[in-house]
């Protein structure tokens, strides 16, 4: 893993609508979170996006960003989840 990074995974799941990515990215930009990678797919008709982000320069603690993203999800009408990357690394990599 790259040094100095504080990686987290943001997942957005829900009914597709205009401006989901824009609003999520605006929030991240406003809070100093750098997007490293985005992948997106449609699973059983649902919008499904995953972002890998670097939070090392984030303006707020992880817990606050996570809680605010959760609220943003409620506003947009999708489910937004913010998790530290290690859980996926540990589970899927030896």
């Amino acid at each position: 893993m790259e040094t100095g990074m504080d990686k987290a995974i943001i997942t957005v799941v829900g009914k597709d609508t205009v401006g989901i990515i824009a609003r999520v990215c605006t929030y991240l930009a406003d809070n100093g979170v750098n997007v490293l990678d985005i992948s997106q797919t449609i699973v059983s008709g649902y919008f499904n996006m995953m972002m890998i982000v670097d939070m090392s320069a984030a303006a707020k603690p992880f817990a606050d960003i996570s809680a605010e993203m959760d609220e943003l999800g409620v506003v947009i009408g999708v489910s937004i989840k913010c998790q530290r990357e290690e859980i996926f690394q540990k589970m899927h990599r030896i």
């Binding site: 995974i9 997942t11 990678d37 992948s39 997106q40 797919t41 699973v43 499904n48 995953m50 890998i52 992880f62 817990a63 996570s66 989840k81 913010c82 998790q83 530290r84 990357e85 290690e86 859980i87 996926f88 690394q89 540990k90 589970m91 899927h92």
Partner: protein, 454 residues
């Protein structure tokens, strides 16, 4: 780099398949609290527990938020109280005061349970051991969070049949003293053979004397994840079946390992072990019996169940051991009745009997667990059931346990509701033939031969 499919797989396990970390258990040694003055002893115990564990629940919630994974229980285990109270407690009543101190400390720290109201008497009982054992009914009736266990046998020492006889009476007495709550006290009392020192699961957790001052042990779970994985390999060979269980167990355990390391770092307390047990809950889709069904038996208890369980237990270990640097505790599939909806269904369908459960305990952890029996069951019969289970553990060099609930005032055909993680249980029939003459013999069963293994 992690891809979207892997992320979705993990999150589906958490959201749809009940993947969680079942418990972070903080083991605390109370050896340095020992004092011959009871009041001072109680003060020291309270002080030590509430100091070391003060951040436990907060750290647990913090980790939950970081990874969006539920950590269902935060618990504390302490050094067996029979040792800690030996110098100060002259009567069973004195020991009850320590139980109340543990209860207060549990409330203060916000944990779900505190374990270690225990005595280790596999070869003999000291006066303190016996006083503690005799205090158990009152201690469990007078407290909310305290869990008790008694180790009455081991492969090295044999079985202390005097303790087995006494525990039959104590279980009955505990049932009696908590009869307003469907004899709930018995759900917090376990009798062990070969009890591990680092078990994070209740009701049998205690902090062994060979452990460090404080240690973090973590119990993982995830029967629902294994079950879901197996639905994708229906009809495939045993090789594919075993491979699937192993890989799934690996993934589940890695999450436990991550949580354990993180909790250890945040609390500044060393990491002890991961317990690989598949621990079911009454929630739909979180059942070990459902895995057995998926492997191919109509209900848990049908012919083939013991083999299916042996296979499951072994593959979970093989996958789990690869995933964690330190494995310990009970580490095996749990087959409690009341805590597993699939087991309850099997009992209600007439597929699963006490005798079949006993056979199943030969190949998995832990034993006759959370089984409700008629309240009129004789103390000697309960002792007989304990002795059988202890013998399985002693001969097979494994941990076995008994957590029976003789529900006072209820009989076969009725059921009992404990609520929450403890679930509900149909009252199961017990073989009514007598073992009085066997149980009434004094002394102990000698340690077994460690060779000639047939």
């Amino acid at each position: 780099m992690i891809n979207i499919w892997e992320v979705n797989e993990t999150n589906e396990m958490i959201e749809k398949e009940n993947l969680d970390v079942r418990t972070i258990t903080l083991g605390i040694s109370l050896l340095d609290c020992i004092d011959s003055d009871l009041e001072r002893l109680n003060d020291r115990i309270y002080e030590k527990i509430t100091t070391i564990a003060k951040d436990l629940t907060a750290v647990g919630s913090d980790i939950e938020k970081n990874y969006c994974i539920p950590i269902v229980n935060k618990r504390i285990s302490v050094t067996p109280i029979a040792l800690i109270g030996a110098a100060a407690c002259k009567t069973p009543e004195d020991f009850v005061s320590i139980a109340q101190t543990l209860d207060r400390a549990a409330k203060q720290t916000g944990v779900n349970f505190i374990g270690g109201y225990s005595a280790l008497v596999s070869k003999g009982m000291t006066t303190a051991d016996e006083n503690l054992i005799r205090s158990i009914p009152k201690a469990l009736a007078a407290t909310e969070y305290v869990c008790s266990s008694v180790n009455v046998g081991s492969t090295k020492a044999g079985i202390n049949m005097d303790a087995v006889r006494l525990m039959g009476e104590i279980i009955k007495e505990t049932a009696e003293q908590t009869k307003e709550k469907d004899s709930f006290g018995c759900a917090k009392l376990v009798v062990f053979c070969n009890a591990p020192d680092d078990n994070p699961f209740m009701a049998g957790a205690f902090h062994g004397v060979t452990e460090a001052d404080a240690i973090i042990n973590v119990g993982v779970s995830g029967p629902g994840v294994v079950k879901t994985a197996l639905t994708k390999v229906r009809g495939e060979s045993f090789e594919v079946l075993c491979e699937t269980i192993k890989k799934t167990a690996f993934k589940i355990t890695r999450v436990g390992q991550l949580v354990a390391k993180e909790a250890s770092a945040k609390l500044g307390i060393p990491f002890g072990i991961i317990d690989l047990s598949l621990a079911p809950t009454p929630a739909i889709g979180d059942s070990v019996a459902d895995i057995l069904h998926e492997i191919g038996v109509e209900h848990a208890g049908a012919p083939g169940t013991t083999a299916a369980l042996a296979l499951l237990n072994d593959q979970v270990k093989k996958g789990g051991i690869m995933a964690s640097s330190y494995v310990g505790g009970l580490s095996g599939a749990f087959i409690p009745v009341s805590e597993d909806q699939g087991m309850i269904n099997a009992v209600e369908a007439g597929a699963l009997t006490l005798e079949k459960l006993e056979a199943m305990t030969c190949v998995c952890s832990v034993g006759l667990d959370m089984i409700a029996v008629p309240g009129k069951t004789k103390a000697s019969t309960i002792s007989g059931l304990i002795a059988d289970e202890m013998a399985i553990g002693m001969i097979n060099q494994k941990t076995t346990a008994v957590r029976l609930i003789p529900v006072i005032g209820k009989d076969v055909g009725e059921s009992v509701e404990f609520g929450g993680l403890l679930g509900h249980a149909p009252i199961m029939p017990v073989n009514s033939f007598s073992c009085d003459s066997f149980i009434n013999r004094k002394g102990r069963i000698p340690a077994p031969v460690h060779s000639f293994k047939n």
